[in-house]
Each structure stands twice: as C-alpha cells, then as structure tokens.
Symmetry: C2
Subunit: 162 residues, 2 copies
C-alpha cells in the first residue's frame, strides 16, 4: 500500500474518482434525465461563472467543486427545476449548490459502502466574472470534464493526503 | 428546546458562534500575536478579494468562510509567515486557507468538547476582483467582523438547520 493510501486509511484518490464517476452517471440520469460522458481535463479549461463547493471531512478530508459557465448553469438549473433561466440569479445559484450536494452525496454513497470514511458539509456557491479557485499544492486533485445532455461542466476533486 | 436545536442534535448557531469567538481570540493571539475585537456585521461589508472556506459535516453541517481584502490578506499572511507580501500570490492564498483551517479547528475544539458533532474539510480559497458568495436561504448564518491587530476581516458561519 502506498504512503498516500496509508495517510487516508487505505483510500486513494483513484478510489474516490471511480466513485465520483458512478455518482455523476447516477445524478445526471436520475435527476436530470441526461446521459453523461466524463473525460479527464486540466485547470486550463476553467473560466469564471459559477463554482459550487462541498467539503468533506473524516478519515479522508477533501472538497468537491463544480465549475460551470453562466450559460451552462442556467441550462442545468432548467433541467433540474423545469423552469427557464436567462441569468444566474439566486435560484440558479441554489440549484448549482443542490447539484454539487447530490454529487457529493453520491460520492459518499459509493465511497463509504463498507465504512463511513467522511461526512459532507453544506454547499457554498461562488459566482462572478473575475475569480479563480486555489488548491494548496500538497493536496491531490483530479479534474473531470462532464458533458451531460446539453451542458458541460468541470468537477474538481481534492483530497488531503498529508 | 427549539426545532432548530432539535434538528442539529441540540446545538444552536449561538453555541457555535460562542465557540467561534473563543477560536478567533485564541488563533489571533497565539498564531499572529494580535489582540482581536469581534463585532456582529452584515453582508453589506463584503467586498471581493480573498474568501477562504472550510466546510464541516456531521450532526451539524455547515461552513466557515473568511472574507478579506487583498491588502488585508497580504498583511495577515505577513503576520503569519514573517515575510512581506505586496499582492495575493499562491503563498498568500495558502496562508488564508491555513488561517481559516485553524479557526475551524478551534471552532471544533470548543464546540465538540463532550461529543464530536462534526468533522472539518480541507480549505478552498477563492480570489478575484468580481465575485460574490451565496448561501441558500434556508440555512442559518452569522457574520462577525474581526479587527485583529492591523487587519480586519469578516467571518461567515453558516449551518444547516433543516
């Protein structure tokens, strides 16, 4: 077992990434009725818009962030709520918090099948035209690009392996 | 006992606010060697700059966010690290994550003396010139203005009482 796996009680970021894949497939199909395609990506694809974060803590501590453009957020909120949105208002921001919360809940469901290795926080949502998010260098991270029906977004999974 | 206290296993946001006061006093005095003054405030004082978020989950789920101006972040990072900073670079962003992490750790220490009611996540740090943070309406929140030595910052404590 690697030092990383030991530091997190035997759980690697690859395990969590696999669980996140399952969560994305489940949430997009059951809540949004979209088929999804997931591909690895890097930070160069990130642009400001809306970022919704759920933290988690326990044997494994980390955070899951959904990054999406304003247009994508409106489309995704429409898919979730069955209403039309033309700008990122409080309802759209709430909806992005709700979606990352469902994804984190799915991640937990698949990652904690034999033992509860973390608990999840409430979502925090950031929106704006000029901001970036920062992850300390010594944390492990994975970036996944998701195409779900007409929407694309990026998921960033970060865990502390110290 | 109120319905809010029942929903969170007997813990109210006032309990957590009292614990946060102790954590602020401890962290600013021991890590920064500053005396601190804490006053209630509201969201009108928030301006973009740096926002560092730690989530927590368990019997009580929530998030603690530190909001600070770019100048304040440089001064606070200088106080923590003993180096001069003129702009919010990655070291300053890391330092803001470290400070909110220490504050959340202090909050946990004081709030969980008889029982571990939550676990904390890793920090996420946002920086930029045009963004705002959003909290879903049905969460309870408190905003505290902190003057610590030459620095002022705002702490936002949010908990889910649903």
């Amino acid at each position: 077992m690697s030092s990383v796996a030991l530091a997190t009680g035997g759980v690697t970021i690859r395990d969590l990434e696999n669980s996140l894949h399952k969560a994305v497939t489940e949430v997009t199909s059951t809540m949004l009725n979209y088929q999804s395609v997931i591909v690895p990506c890097d930070e160069s694809v990130l642009v400001p818009g809306v970022s919704a974060i759920v933290g988690f803590g326990g044997k494994v501590s980390g955070a899951l962030t959904l990054h999406i453009s304003p247009e994508g957020a409106c489309t995704l909120a429409s898919g979730l709520l069955g209403m039309e949105f033309r700008e990122v208002d409080e309802i759209v921001a709430d909806a992005m918090g709700e979606i990352v919360n469902m994804l984190a809940g799915g991640l937990k469901k698949y990652a904690c099948q034999t033992e509860e290795i973390f608990k999840i926080s409430i979502p925090s949502v950031i929106r704006g035209n000029d901001y970036c998010t920062h992850v300390p260098k010594d944390f492990e991270r994975r970036m996944l690009g998701v195409q779900a029906g007409p929407c694309s977004f990026v998921l960033q999974l970060v865990i502390d392996v110290s």
